[in-house]
């Protein structure tokens, strides 16, 4: 296992990138710690798979370098980097048995047969495929096939990292939970460095200790699930994580208060940086209190989603969402108040610290 350093990595698919727009990956400068479980989260086309393929060596970055444990591997081939990757669609060797599938990476590397046998048996145990070792791989279900893909990575004890590219896309929902918890277990037991690409926030937040949120070819925030939820660094993170996403509205700031239309909202502190540019206030629906006092809103619709209700309302001419408990009533003259703990302020989409 290894620590992976991405040093100012940029990548463009076209031959002569001119502006920032031509880069699928604008600039990534980040370290994946040894033994960490990371999720790369972002919408389609944000560059997360590009970054993953650069780490695995399937793509050669236009700029920057990649270090494994401080050693420059930018010019090494995929094979020499010694990583494992699990793809979106299960890749198995149809004509081989499950056992031979797992033995394949070892045999290709000329490992002596007794060692192959020992490693394959271990891996079969680890992935729970032991009782189908002699079966042809082609007859298995999608989740079993995906386990074989994973197993081919695990079987090499010296892999530097295991990379996952949306590995659960084709798996049935109930198997997703099972596989994901098995992955977490494997991670805890063996301490692999794991990087997991997904566009599914639930998957990312439940799998990883550190979630790397990407947007338009850049990393916008790296943090624990709680940090991403409480303090989104960029309005995109606010929108993207959470269901429904964060309410973001343009405001004018004066000292400790923000003005939106005819309403004044008390801020938890005075913004530290200058508040020039487009200032926005962000608050998650979980922190919007609906009750009899506060600022007036008109309710457009209430979605009852079981655990709680999502109230869609109009506030000073803008859409706002609030979450209320399943048993709470919707008042006749609805008013809202913002919980100061949940208020974030953004200048040009980036979060501004507040103090005092």
């Amino acid at each position: 296992m290894a620590r992976i350093d991405c040093n100012h990595i940029r990548h463009a698919y076209g031959p002569h990138p001119k502006s920032d727009k031509d880069f699928a990956l604008k600039e990534v400068h980040h370290a994946f710690e040894d033994g960490g479980a990371y999720a790369l989260l972002g919408p389609s086309g944000c560059g997360k798979t590009t970054l993953l393929n650069i780490i695995s060596g399937l793509l050669y970055p236009s700029h920057g370098e990649l270090l494994f444990d401080g050693k420059d591997v930018t010019n090494l081939s995929t094979q020499e980097r010694n990583i494992a990757q699990v793809f979106q669609f299960p890749v198995i060797y149809d004509t081989m048995t499950v056992y031979d599938n797992l033995a394949f990476p070892l045999r290709n590397r000329g490992v002596p047969e007794p060692d192959v046998d020992r490693k394959v048996r271990e891996t079969l145990e680890m992935t729970g495929l032991a009782d189908m070792a002699k079966k042809k791989a082609r007859g298995l279900t999608a989740d079993q096939k995906q386990k074989i893909s994973l197993g081919r990575g695990l079987v090499r004890s010296d892999v530097n990292a295991i990379l996952f590219d949306e590995p659960l896309t084709v798996i049935d929902p109930h198997m997703k939970w099972v596989l994901r918890s098995q992955l977490k277990q494997l991670h805890r037991r063996f301490g692999f460095t794991m990087v997991y690409v997904t566009h599914d926030q639930t998957e990312a937040l439940t799998f990883a200790e550190n979630v790397v949120v990407m947007y338009e070819g850049e990393i916008v925030q790296i943090g624990s699930p709680a940090e991403l939820f409480e303090r989104p660094k960029h309005t995109f993170v606010g929108y993207f994580i959470g269901s429904p996403g964060m309410n973001v509205m343009p405001v004018e700031v004066e000292g400790r208060s923000a003005r939106l239309g005819s309403q004044t909202i008390e801020l938890p502190g005075v913004p530290k940086a200058g508040t020039a540019g487009a200032i926005e206030l962000g608050i998650r629906p979980e922190y919007v209190r609906l009750g009899a006092s506060g600022m007036p809103v008109s309710i457009r619709k209430v979605e009852d989603i079981g655990r709680h209700k999502v109230v869609r309302a109009s506030f000073e001419g803008r859409d706002i969402a609030a979450i209320v408990g399943e048993d709470e009533d919707i008042p006749a003259d609805p008013r809202i108040a913002f919980d100061p703990a949940g208020i974030n302020l953004y200048a040009d989409s980036w979060r501004v610290e507040m103090g005092g």
């Binding site: 890749v91 394949f104 990476p105």
Partner: protein, 288 residues
């Protein structure tokens, strides 16, 4: 189970029945009819029973032609299938090279068979043909008109030129359907070029290869036009294949009964061999 029985539904299949009757069943039955009768002209026929069949099955001429057919099919399969796979593997997967290669590959397939024969007939001539003349000038004693070996080489090279494209196109179709992830995974697993071919590409080409082998076998076993145009079955009888012999028998010698019996035997052999190919290859497929 409740079912509605309506015998009028049979009328729905009537057009197909008629079509098949006129295109296949009636002509085939005519041949069967000829094969069990003899005639001395004037539309007078005598019952001959199995005489024609016995004659065919005891005829050296038939078995020699059959032997030539089998050797020919075996040789062109051994050349065209690996060559087709090899070319397909080396064709570009994207970019401007794809349409160029596809068109180049499709060209021989678009040429009418007798034209293919004529092209090679001229191409191989030792007096004016580019191939024949060049070989001669280089000191080879090449002459497909006199030398049976040269005639065979010419006919085989012609068939390879004409039909390898078909194998290439079928294999290529199988190859491009393999998702990139397979190659990426193979790289990560450290697979060699040979292992990629053996465990990814070949299994994915399995089905199209079955079709390619069947088509090429059936076609080559029935080959007529091209060798007929180039060699006319000669020198001697050395390139006389079953179909050429059949036409000689039916039209040249007007021996309808024997020709009909031969047609039926010929047809049964092709069917039998195709069935054997198919069964062997699908059984192999299922076992894996």
């Amino acid at each position: 189970m409740d079912r509605t029985w309506n015998n009028k539904a049979w009328f729905m299949v009537l057009p197909v029945l008629l079509l098949v009757a006129f295109s296949a069943v009636i002509p085939l039955m005519t041949v069967v009819n000829y094969s069990v009768q003899d005639t001395f002209g004037n539309n007078v026929f005598f019952w001959a029973g199995s005489e024609w069949f016995e004659e065919i099955l005891h005829s050296d001429r038939f078995w020699e032609a059959m032997g030539r057919n089998l050797v020919f099919s075996a040789v062109i399969l051994v050349i065209e299938i690996p060559l087709g796979i090899f070319i397909a593997l080396n064709m570009p997967k994207k970019g401007w090279g794809v349409p160029v290669c596809l068109v180049l590959m499709a060209l021989p397939l678009l040429i009418p068979w007798n034209v293919v024969g004529t092209i090679w007939q001229v191409f191989g001539r030792v007096d004016i043909g580019l191939l024949g003349y060049s070989l001669r000038s280089l000191g080879f004693d090449y002459n497909y008109v006199n030398d049976p070996f040269d005639a065979w080489v010419t006919v085989i090279v012609m068939d390879v030129w004409h039909w390898t494209s078909l194998v290439v196109l079928l294999c290529y179709a199988g190859l491009v359907s393999i998702p990139d992830a397979y190659y990426q995974a193979a790289k990560i697993d450290g697979a060699s070029r040979w292992a990629i071919f053996r465990y990814i590409q070949l299994p994915k080409m399995n089905r199209v290869l079955l079709i390619a082998v069947l088509l090429r076998f059936m076609d080559s076993f029935m080959i007529y036009t091209e060798p007929f145009v180039v060699t006319g079955g000669g020198p001697g009888n050395t390139t006389t294949f079953l179909s050429i012999d059949l036409v000689k028998l039916a039209i040249g010698e007007f021996n309808l009964g024997e020709a009909a019996a031969m047609s039926i035997v010929y047809f049964l052999i092709i069917m039998l061999l195709s069935w054997v190919f198919y069964t062997v290859m699908t059984a192999y497929d299922a076992e894996r």
